[in-house]
Symmetry: D2
Subunit: 266 residues, 4 copies
């Protein structure tokens, strides 16, 4: 290795996201004082991730996707972990950290995987297949690898109540020319495919709907997970705060009098 210089150190931490100098904070080239009070929080989410500000139609979709992700009650591991963690004598920041950490491939990754699935459908369609054949082929290939099709079906809900309003917003945005609609059509084709020959369909769930939104808006698949973290952090905070106010200490997963079944040697 050649002799390092101070420039190497500066370059090691190079960034285009923000510039912070004495008395200066710029976010993607915009002074923070011009954003405060003028740009919405969701607009700033877009700005930091994309480098420009969203159109009103784009912002509306992103906002709806974030709103739809905020909470799914204490059965969600992320919510339960936040509530337990905050009773252990750590700050809200740390309780939130233990919780968002659980939004991994299984709990928070379905949106990212669904975006890859939708991209796969579109790739096949570009190669000449019609939408339904492309969807069928993509689903079959996914299922050969995994029994979980990301973005479709729900263990709690027959029809996820967040499905219709989210898809309606995307359809409206397609009509208004805000987004192109290709990913929406791919998702609908998968939904049709999954319903074929079944009494009970397997509708798009919230992960699938937000995947459609993020894909239509041009976000890369890993950001479906990152944006889900932003949305779910709201519910995580609200639950942690409610629990903190109940004053319990070292909250376990069940009342102390309930004993875990013991499976080990006598």
């Amino acid at each position: 290795m050649s002799e390092p210089t101070l420039s190497d150190v500066s370059d090691w931490w190079a960034t285009a996201v923000s510039r912070v100098e004495p008395d200066v904070i710029e976010l993607r080239g915009r002074p923070v004082q011009e954003l405060i009070g003028r740009t919405s929080f969701v607009g700033v989410v877009w700005l930091l991730l994309r480098g420009d500000l969203p159109s009103p139609g784009q912002e509306r979709l992103l906002e709806a996707a974030l709103v739809s992700s905020v909470d799914h009650g204490p059965h969600a591991p992320s919510i339960a972990v936040a509530r337990m963690a905050v009773t252990c004598g750590i700050g809200l920041n740390s309780a939130m950290a233990s919780a968002v950490n659980t939004l991994g491939d299984v709990h928070g990754g379905a949106g990212e995987q669904c975006m890859e699935l939708l991209d796969d459908v579109l790739r096949r369609a570009t190669d000449g297949a019609d939408a339904d054949h492309a969807a069928a082929a993509a689903v079959d290939e996914w299922r050969a690898r995994s029994k979980y099709l990301p973005g479709f079906g729900h263990r709690f809900h027959r029809t996820d109540p967040r499905r219709d309003p989210l898809l309606d917003l995307v359809r409206e945005a397609v009509d208004q020319g805000v987004v192109a609609g290709a990913h929406l059509r791919a998702a609908e084709a998968i939904e049709r495919r999954l319903a074929a020959g079944r009494d009970r369909p397997i509708p798009i769930n919230v992960d699938g709907c937000t995947a459609v939104v993020y894909a239509e808006l041009g976000f890369a698949p890993p950001l479906a997970r990152g944006l889900f973290v932003l949305g779910r952090s709201v519910g995580i905070l609200a639950h942690a705060w409610e629990e903190a106010n109940q004053g319990r200490r070292n909250k376990g997963p069940m009342p102390p009098a309930v004993r875990p079944t013991y499976l080990g040697p006598a």
Copy 2:
């Protein structure tokens, strides 16, 4: 302990934040499908933490405080940790978790502490002291305990560029009757006190300004930290994502050729 029942288990996880049943998701009593597309993300933050929806004036203040917190560049430990963590082969959710976890008493707690300081000034004023005497007494007592006065002064900025726009918004909200202004006046009194007899003032910083916002809006002090986590998560995500796209692996804090000074035995 008496024999537990299933109701004890349900009660163990009791919550007023949300109700999730098959095909039903309600947030603070409102069906999620009525929120999606109609309520802003910041409005839902308020809803989950407070139980009702904010007025437009309240929402505007909360939004501005969140926007002002999103990023402070790679010198901030939270941002640096996110960038390093994401190069280690963990998902964006986990990189964000390692980062928000660092928003503790020192890095993310100044807002909470400043809210307590402002409350202390108001308590003294209620007891009959005028604002300036109350501020002086509160500052003196705090300084007897700690050399860091939360919410005032900044190691980088002489005047934090986020100060003026945030305080202007609060003043406007006071004029419009959105908030009462008592915490704003307490903060201004502290600022005057700190400037007295000095060439260079010690102005309110972003933690102090957002503390004023949150206090005026009636949030409890620990939520200053929780809301800071929500805001800073945006910058944390943007930096983690930028770093992920640079493709570095196991990014340390400096280029490999720079050696840490060794202080131990030969």
Copy 3:
């Protein structure tokens, strides 16, 4: 700020813990290749924290304290969080992180607080009080501040099964001149004080016993928490691994059919 140099960067990361150069790894001045196969893992824990190697008697005490901390079953939030987290599609490292993060002031901090309590007793005794009066005064002052006396009593156990073997080891170490015994006597004095006039005593619990061990060995109080993290990480790993092998996905705190009690608006 004056112009920085590369030395400033090296100094920023100065450490006496280890020296890592090409083909060289030294821990506290000892080449790692001389430690591997010759020094015990617990010996290396001591080495890294203290700078030298423990005597056999010191190592025996540290080892016993670590062994006593490894697990307390799924009711412990740390264990439950690890099990839930690992089902969410994150690695064992991240499941362990979410879990050890919960070992805060309430869940993992009692040992640290108990060490401070023992120090307080000794300070009072140095000032001339006999052990029992010093213990009484220290307990009374603590209880004026908090209803939880750290290191004494247990919500599950009448007598913590880890108490006797740990205290016996400390007594043996006192007899052998390994440790001085002052902190042991302080703990015993507190135990006597708490038992006075009660049918059922409030014996030292595992946090108290390990606090005695760490204090007798000369560790600073915050390391009681750090060492507890090392010990408990073993149980955290074992439970996360067992859960991972059961194959559940998104494990919540109770079976899906059990509904959390809803406390909010209709």
Copy 4:
């Protein structure tokens, strides 16, 4: 879903790792009071993960692997994160959590991947290939997927100083009949393959050596990561503690006067 019962709740948390009842703590069927003072910490690590106690020869290997993993200085993201986190006003447990969280696929996963690579060599050898051909085929297939061969080569060290003592211990254990040696021979075959036709070999690194140890001892590959977390936690704690004693607040990755290079719009 049928009506749940309390047994379902108990079964939800079923475990064979430990049994905790009032006045009873059993680890894998052994009363904790019989372990304290009699069983080593490393023996208890084995007990909790495997269900029985190790032979002295097995324990010796596990101990050596844990010792070899404890620290690699501040260039390691895990160590740097721990040091930065602890200056932000969070406890040692949380600083350790942010740090171990970074031991992901890239930073802490090489051991796990190397175990899979060694298993692949052995599978091919079982199918009739000699060791060198099996190694060549396994390496070629791995390299077709990734340019990083897990467990071989090091960006800092030409020869990792932990290699020789670890491999010597495994060879000794093979001679003594403690382990079979098949994974050792697979690793050596890979090393020979990588050296063929090169001036400078690509020796087994610490991840590869510990992978050999864990594979010879019969641990499943994911536990290579879990055990690495246990070992590295020691260095993480020592560095966090050293940093905490230096008293810095909000330590960034470089001195404040060094500015990150700005890559964004003017």
